[in-house]
Amino acid sequence: MTVDIDFLLSRVRMVPMSPYTDQEIAAAEERIAIRVAAHTPETRSNSDPDMALPSPEECRTPESRALSLRSLCEAFITRPEALSSLREFVADAMPEPRGARVLGGILYLAHCEDSARFWWQYAAGASDALASYCLYLHHRSLGEKAEADWWLDHASFTPATLSTKATRLEIDLALHVLTSMRRWRPQLPERAQFLIQCVPAAVGFVDDDLELPLPDCDFVELIESIVGEETPGAGKQRVGVEHLSPRAKCSAPPAYGSRRTRGEWALPVQDALRDCEETVSC
């Protein structure tokens, strides 16, 4: 018997609450100001991971997991081969898992968490261990322990020690050190900043029902324009980072090659990506 889930969910609608007026909001704000004034302010504690090295227990807060994930993404998107893996990201063949993981990392740093998750799931399904680990950290940062543990079990790293548990602790510790080092590191390289600012605008949603986050022709041009800039004497133009507003649509002229639109993602590829999205439910 098919279940009409929309009918079932229509039953949970609560009776409306009594209206909340502007006067009530203003009164509440006064109460809050009085509460803050009435007590001595909290002294800064070591529980803020940005302020001091947290203790091992504090490493495991959802917020610190999110920070670890950011550090990890920054680390693998700035590696030399990251850009070449993005170039492999073509529309007429199944995307390479490494490129998918790097794209996920860029999207995550650009606060497109759901699109990042989609590409990490794809890469993890193709046995990219780092993508599985990113999903582990992402779910931990959301307090979703069961889902997180599932991905951790599927992240098969070459063991650093004889025990899986000890290996996991080692990875934890390494990330903790990496995250702490962020405070003393200068900003991300310009190229990485440029990618984070521009890539989200070049990733659009295909399929009204499932909303697959697929890169379009701007993405290809974007990557080629960066590669072009790094090739001596190529003479390609590139929009400088300082001229872009965050997530602005990039107006870099096409470097070379034919324009590919979202509609040109091959149907078998779209179907496979759709299956991927529907199969993974966490």
């Binding site: 018997m1 079932l8 039953r11 509440a28 004034a37 009435a38 606060h111």
Partner: protein, 191 residues
């Protein structure tokens, strides 16, 4: 933050409160009604909800500069509010989330002719919702219990609208699966 004198002990007059920054006021005005809605349902009455939400905004105001620097202030504020509501619920010996008890406050149960039957079905839906992962639970609660739009839900949770739709899709798939198993079992029992 400046050190405040504990003047309640010394002179008996509370210190004049500082006016919160304008962006805090705007944030408070935008989110408070929806936080109250959530808190009221979990804690059972408006007064308890006001108390818990006051505490949440007090915590945010104390560290407002840091909150603004967070990757996602809206998501941080939502988590802070839920934590406060949770601890208030525990201290009042209530379950810390929307549970089957919320079924009594649904339109369906209040307006039903067969209110017992309706109640039973609605409670089972709430029970199934409470088993979802937290993010999916929040999305379903805001979208269906409180009838928030996708945009409003995204704003409260600090996620994108596409994210809301994705969580909703996965939640519905999971719920559908649970109810299909249940109805198959009931079908077998009846034979």
């Amino acid at each position: 933050m400046t050190q405040e004198e504990p003047s309640l002990r010394q002179s008996g007059h509370p210190p004049a409160p500082e006016r919160p920054p304008l962006d805090f006021s705007a944030f408070h005005q935008m989110h408070r009604p929806k936080y109250i809605r959530w808190a009221e349902r979990v804690l059972g009455c408006r007064a308890y909800a006001e108390d818990a939400v006051d505490e949440a905004f007090e915590r945010l105001l104390r560290r407002w500069d840091e909150v603004l620097k967070k990757e996602n202030p809206a998501a941080y504020a939502w988590a802070t509010m839920k934590n406060c509501v949770c601890s208030h619920a525990r201290s009042r010996r209530r379950r810390a989330d929307l549970t089957e008890g919320a079924a009594f406050d649904t339109i369906a149960v209040r307006e039903a002719g067969d209110s017992i039957g309706e109640l039973e079905q609605t409670m089972s839906v709430f029970a199934a919702i409470s088993e979802l992962p937290e993010r999916q639970r929040d999305v379903i609660a805001l979208r269906y219990c409180f009838d928030f739009s996708t945009a409003e839900t995204a704003q409260e949770l600090g996620i994108t609208e596409a994210g809301v739709r994705s969580h909703e899709r996965h939640a519905k798939k999971s719920l559908r699966g649970k109810f299909e198993v249940q109805s198959r079992k009931e079908g077998q029992e009846q034979r």
